[in-house]
Symmetry: C2
């Protein structure tokens, strides 16, 4: 059966974005370091329309994640960096221009209703009744493929809190950001999810920790 996989890059001190997120620095100060392992990879470059790229274990893992996914769920902030009414959002069409790198249906959770947005290869559907509904719609769209919850921290926390995620894949990057957006900050410590290590893949730049989430 298809799984709901939450996937995010984290610093060694637990931040998934740095402080002071702006339109110019959507990942906050130092946050780009969290994704440097991915930028040179073939499986990152290809969906972004870029030629070439490195192959190897990191690339295979990313390619496998991409192939396994049939739909994506994300938070509003990951989509545009904004909040509030769309009319006032300078990135209301998303960060990615005319051909976003997803190439599958994307469900954006927001408080602000809006018609679906079709771009080349990717249609963004805006869901205003919460993560559970977004995951359900994504499941239907994904068929027998996985639903990927791509972030940010709040989206993943809410999926963990609601028991919606089957796996958590953390790309642990050995840098310290010192401040910023922490994963798990929105998960209640009273009855936290339980994790079981499924696999580890390490390379010089990043350690990929895959956990099954026990119910």
């Amino acid at each position: 059966m298809a799984k709901v996989v939450a996937e995010i890059s984290s610093s060694l001190d637990g931040y998934v974005a740095g402080p002071n997120q702006t339109l110019e620095e959507p990942l906050g100060r130092g946050g780009d370091q969290l994704h440097e392992w991915a930028y040179p990879l073939k499986s990152f470059r290809e969906p972004h329309g870029l030629p070439g790229g490195e192959t190897g274990p990191d690339d295979e893992l990313l390619a496998q994640s991409f192939r396994a996914a049939g739909a994506v769920v994300m938070g509003r902030r990951m989509f545009s960096g904004g909040a509030g009414p769309w009319e006032a959002d300078p990135k209301a069409d998303g960060w990615w221009g005319d051909e976003p790198p997803f190439h599958m249906p994307v469900f954006v959770v927001t408080h602000h209703a809006r018609e679906p947005l079709a771009k080349t290869g990717t249609t963004f559907t805006f869901v205003t009744d919460g993560f559970e509904s977004a995951v359900e719609q994504a499941r239907a769209a994904a068929g027998d493929k996985n639903v990927q919850v791509g972030g940010g921290a709040d989206a993943i926390d809410q999926c963990l809190e609601a028991g919606l995620a089957d796996e958590l894949l953390i790309h642990l990057v050995p840098v310290l950001l010192g401040d910023g957006v922490r994963l798990f900050a929105g998960v209640s410590p009273e009855l936290p999810p339980r994790f079981e290590l499924a696999s580890v893949l390490d390379s010089p730049l990043v350690t990929h920790l895959r956990y099954r989430i026990l119910r």
Copy 2:
């Protein structure tokens, strides 16, 4: 050459102890979960004077750490849970009774001067002029063996901040504590240490991440 190795167990959300540390719960609420992987191991039980125990990869790693170490540096709170004058500290002789599990010289960093304390197999020396001095004294005592910085978070942070540590070994336990004492909170984000993954060993209960610290 002998290395200075900082070693600590951490939750997936970055806590090395839970909230509300007390004499009854020195690791805070839920903090015991961070060490459950170690308790059944032969290499944990043996220095505590207990028979038997499990063998296997986790045990070998712990045994190797123990064999490689010639002296230990720790913070006052790890030694007794206390602070302030020794006369008012109910655990002024440490947590461990007459035969502490170290079986090597231990250097305790404190603001409160005190004569060395000799127990069976372990002498505790109290260092009042800071971590750099404690690490120097521990190096001299360790000879060609490693200095182990055993915690807590503050001791490790200060060693990282002062550039004293050569390696950081994190035993990453897949639980969420939600609150408590965070590793790295005392490391300045302006010029953080750089880490390079040296090795990963994973088992069902814990992932051991060993990082070289670059200068």
